[in-house]
Amino acid sequence: MPLQSILVSLSRRVALGVVVLWFTVTLTFAFLQIVPGDPAALLFGGDEIPTEEQLEEVRRDWGLERPVHEQYLLYIERLVHGDLGRSYQQRTEVATLLYSGVWSTVILAVAGLVLAVVISVPLATLTAGSSTLLRRFAFVFELVTISMPSFWIGIILILVFSFTLNWFPIVALDNPLSLVLPAATIALGLVGQLSQVMRESIERALKEPFILTARSRGLSDGSVRWGHALKHSYIPAATITGTFAGNVLTGVVVTETVFGRPGLGTITVAAITTHDIPLVLGVVIVSAAFFVLVNILVDLSYGLVDKRIGSSV
């Protein structure tokens, strides 16, 4: 029963995801308990010494005067209701702040990902198992992008393509072209790894007997690569894309900073430098949730591509 087995595997993954989230939340809570000093002052954050009234407000919000287990329950209960607390530095709900940045970040991340796939797929498929000039080029290109800090890639892209050639603006945010260079920065950080992983599995597939069988039917080299071998690189490629998507902030923090774009990355850096702890905790929880979600989707997609997986779970 495929539907049933999909549901079973889905619910298992969701349950696992909930465990991971619960772990994360508990960890953040524990963090507040462990860090020395007055948790209220810590939560208030910022550069100045908070007044007693301000601290009182924090204590009320977080129930800090209550016993630890009650605090924990209160914390969980609030999170379950989607309440991530308030940023005392920005005097705004954490959820509101994060929401304001989330779309911009998601768009950037997705654009970067799509671009990475668009570059990697042909690069890997065309060069797998061959020793052409293109393969050499791909080899060098991948190694170079892997070895460059991504902020540096971003700066070079801006210098060349925006300021010198004037092809892609980076300032006008409402111009869709302004997404190109930031997305390219994220993509270039991923392309090397992605196409290497894909090439490896395509090469492995090309050595399989079914490829010989396919060739024996009169298929051209191209059809064999695109029609048979490529699909076999999906799972490893999706796996690292999944980890990347979970780590979306890593690429995004740098890219948003370099390009001066709004989003979770910018918010994170600002939150860290201003010691805005409720906001930092919010970012941690949201990105963990995002990771869990993406990986559930990636896991499910395995079953769609490779029917063997769905049925064996």
Partner: protein
């Protein structure tokens, strides 16, 4: 100073590349000079300060001072409305003044403020605890910008994060704001109450201005002129790209207020010995460092006070610094005669070492590089270890207040006489006046006298005395740079300028774009 040209035209829009996103949009709570250029578009103050230090009407059509200097009466302009449709009246002003003096809500509370009373619909009376010459500075300062009473009562908690609920009476209103990215302001059509310091009357020329926050200096410079029309904050190296170049306008302006300086903690060993402080002051070649770093675009400072301030003591120029021989002699005298393996001076087994706490978020214009240069020279020249502790720690204010820090580099960008005097009279107690050391009482008395007097000449005299004491005799301050602001623009943009009161870039009310 203002850049002017013929035949202004109305209409059009510009994109303005700026250095920073305001941390807080509530003018009562914002202390970033770099954010005033947005706030000055949105808010007005009761009075405006002119280039030569006078105060002229703005939202207040006139004002008067009682003879004892404790009661100020403001007569409000008629027909002024806020962006949200509220009317400007005496009650609104009283509310604002009360809020602006309420701690901890406001960071601009005035210590001698007593109360405000509504006399009639258009008249407000402010009572001071005692006469204070710096009061009008506060009145004209954007920190006391007048916010709509509706914003203040109904949306107080939303104001810091900007947005539609933030209403002032200024020539522009917020159209959209994306944190960390940009803010778009649109012209406020009803605006008809520009002060006489402005170049024109009526609504702003521009329909719309987009401030794009570009923290990377190279991004701002690179984006002009293809992607942005105006930028502010230009590094010395980049100036040559715009200055005297076809197609560009380049403006620069020295800041009013204080200079960028080192504040020395004269209560902490080894700086508690004035000879050590003097040696430190004279142990490096500031001229050479500043020249190589800023290529003449930024000047070195001679005093705690900015050279454009009316209170500046010109006689300090050339009176100190770069005297390595004497510095070494002073240290020898002070007993720091031995040297350790790294070449630092030592006394009683202790190394001659000071810790400089400088938060990364304040670091700009290569100031940390300058500090490194100083550190290097002090090591080479006089064997003093000058540890630059560059940390993003948000606890630096607490650390400074605790008295455990030797040196705290800072700028109080403020033409506020009070703050200046406070600083000058703290005897090396670092940014705080809670150090109640009897030895600094005479200085404090002197400062109080300067504030209370209505005689400007007398005040200037006291100021000079205090500056000389702080820089030359006591060495509680070592001035480093005269803070300066730069603007560059494509030459089709006209009417750019700086705020008279502090010298930072002005809003865009007078700006227009040639067709």
């Amino acid at each position: 100073p203002r850049h002017a040209a013929a035949e202004p035209v109305s209409g059009g829009e510009i994109t303005y590349g700026t250095q920073t996103d305001p941390v807080n949009w509530n003018p009562h709570q914002n202390n970033q000079a770099n954010a005033f250029l947005y706030l000055r578009n949105i808010f007005d103050t009761l009075l405006e300060k002119t280039e030569n230090g006078d105060f002229v009407p703005s939202l207040a059509e006139s004002y008067s001072v009682s003879d004892d200097g404790t009661v100020y009466t403001f007569r409000l302009r008629d027909g002024v409305t806020f962006h949200d449709g509220e009317k400007l009246d005496a009650a609104a002003v009283k509310l604002n003044l009360d809020k602006a003096n309420e701690t901890p809500y406001s960071i601009y509370a005035f210590p001698n403020y007593d109360s405000a009373t509504v006399v009639d619909d258009r008249t407000v009376e402010v009572r001071l605890k005692k006469p204070d010459a710096s009061f009008l500075d506060s009145i004209a300062y954007i920190g006391w910008g007048i916010i709509s009473p509706k914003s203040l009562t109904e949306h107080l908690n939303d104001l810091p994060s900007g947005g539609q609920n933030l209403a002032g009476t200024g020539p522009f209103r917020i159209s959209s704001y994306q944190k960390g990215a940009q803010v778009v302001l649109e012209s406020f059509d009803d605006y008809n109450w520009a002060p006489e310091t402005k170049a024109h009357q009526g609504k702003a020329y521009l329909d719309k201005v987009t401030y794009r926050f570009l923290a990377e200096p190279s991004s701002r410079v690179g984006a002009l002129p293809a992607q942005v029309d105006v930028i502010e904050g230009i590094s010395a190296l980049d100036v040559s790209k715009f200055k005297d170049r076809d197609g560009f306008v380049y403006l620069s302006n020295d800041a009013n207020g204080d200079t960028f300086k080192l504040s020395l903690n004269a209560f902490l060993s080894p700086l508690d010995d004035v000879r050590v402080r003097q040696a430190l002051r004279d142990g490096f070649d500031l001229d050479a460092l500043v020249k190589s770093l800023y290529r003449g675009e930024i000047r070195r400072a001679w005093s705690h006070t900015s050279p454009v301030s009316p209170f500046y003591d010109k006689s300090l120029e050339g009176a100190w610094g770069n005297n390595v021989e004497n510095a070494n002699k002073l240290l020898d005298e002070a007993g720091w005669t031995e040297r350790d393996s790294e070449g630092f001076r030592v006394k009683d087994g202790k190394r001659l070492s000071v810790r400089v706490l400088y938060p990364t978020q304040l670091d700009r214009e290569q100031r940390s590089t300058l500090l490194q240069g100083i550190s290097q020279q002090l090591k080479q020249n006089i064997g003093l270890e000058f540890i630059v502790d560059l940390t993003p720690s948000s606890t630096y204010l607490k650390e400074v207040a605790s008295g455990a820090v030797h040196i705290y580099p800072s700028t109080w960008l403020h033409s506020d006489v009070r703050k200046s005097l406070n600083g000058l009279s703290n005897g090396g107690a670092l940014a705080t006046d809670n150090k109640a050391d009897p030895s600094i009482q005479p200085l404090k008395d002197l400062a109080a006298e300067a504030l209370a007097t209505s005689d400007n000449a007398q005040r200037i005299k006291i100021f000079h005395e205090l500056q000389r004491k702080a820089v030359i005799d006591d060495v509680t301050y070592i001035p480093l740079l005269v803070q300066a602001y730069q603007i560059a623009a494509s030459n089709k943009v006209n009417g750019l300028g700086f705020i008279n009161q502090i010298g930072s870039p002005e809003g865009v009310y007078d700006v227009w774009v040639a067709k």
